[in-house]
Amino acid sequence: MADGHKLEIFRGLVKFKSNTQKIWGVLAFLTLITAVEVVLGIIKPVSLTDTYVLGMKLINWIFIILTLVKAYYIAWDFMHLRDEKSSLRRAIVWTPIFLVIYLVFILLVEADYIYNVYKDGFVSWNF
């Protein structure tokens, strides 16, 4: 008896007996990730804050990736996207992802340019 729910997470690595059990399992996982984020945010290991990957601190990449992991499990298991048809799932997920990547790319590049204008240009703002 599975009520039409898919009861596997981590690509079948962990299997649950019922939907209720899966919910608690996902909660434990989300709590663990949040705890890791908070601990990293408080101690801020120097090895992670001093390493830059693609212009951003490694620790910030870790935070963003952990956030996306959390978002995945909320959408897939709490919002039941795992049980929806793949076409609906793709329509819901890829539309915002495409638009957001586009918007973020444009805005951040532009902001970096303005930062350089403030820094090197003939604009005085720190007075």
Partner: protein, 324 residues
Amino acid sequence: MNSTVTTGTETSIWDGGNQPLGASYGKLMMWFFLVSDALTFSGFLAAYGFSRFKFIETWPIADEVFTHVPFFHGNYPMIYVALMTFILIMSSVTMVLAVDAGHKMKKNAVTWYMFATVIGGIIFVGSQAWEWGTFIKGDHGALETKGGRILQFVKADTGERASLADFAASIPDDRIIHERKNGLWFYQEPTLTSVSLEEVVEGFKADSNILIRTEVINEEGEKTLLDRKASLAKLAEATQVVEGANLIHNEYGSRLFADFFFFITGFHGFHVFSGVVINIIIFFNVVIGTYERRGHYEMVEKVGLYWHFVDLVWVFVFTFFYLV
């Protein structure tokens, strides 16, 4: 691809009888709304990223802004907001348990899980309000320069932040708040700061243990601390005292930080508030047996989608406002 399955010939295609994506009309419309709402929030967060990259060297450090926990004194960065995150995830769990119980037509279980969800939502909104109150009230106070930059104060011996009241001189002054009832016309002014600019300047000159900290972030990722001589020179540029934060002045640093804080957490808090209201309506519908008579609890599922979405957005707000 399983998207174009048309079930059975007996369903009427043109009367909305078929479900091409396997989801009911109501659920599909909820997803339409959630995707567009997700884009709205993304717009806000991307704008936040824009302003932050623009002032990347002077942006406030969230750990130094949100340091309070209700009923506890001291410096606890992140702890309370992490607790709020957990409360919201927990209320998401009770919601999904309510949906699960609804599938099994267990009315009592749905009732109690909905009740728990509403309580979780109320606690979260209350925490949000408290967080706003703390942020608006301010912590140590600061000075603002002509160019709108913020100067904060640090005790030289301990390296701790110094509040304005710790060192400000006491200069007798007759200046009182101009109230509307005393005005010739309908003019009034905002609340005066607890110490005046002269008091801060005089107190600073008298106390050699106080140094100025500017907004600029140095190589170590900390705010730059000026030495005593540079501090005195910088002090001459100050034009006013700032205590707390609003849309125009912000003692924690860049005013844009406060603006985005109010807009994004405010917009999210509004979502949580409306989610709580909708959950309460659904709760009473469950209690009076509306869905029991209808034969299914799909309404709980649809509202559940909205509630999880609110949780999902918070996960991102938490990362970009408090962690990164």
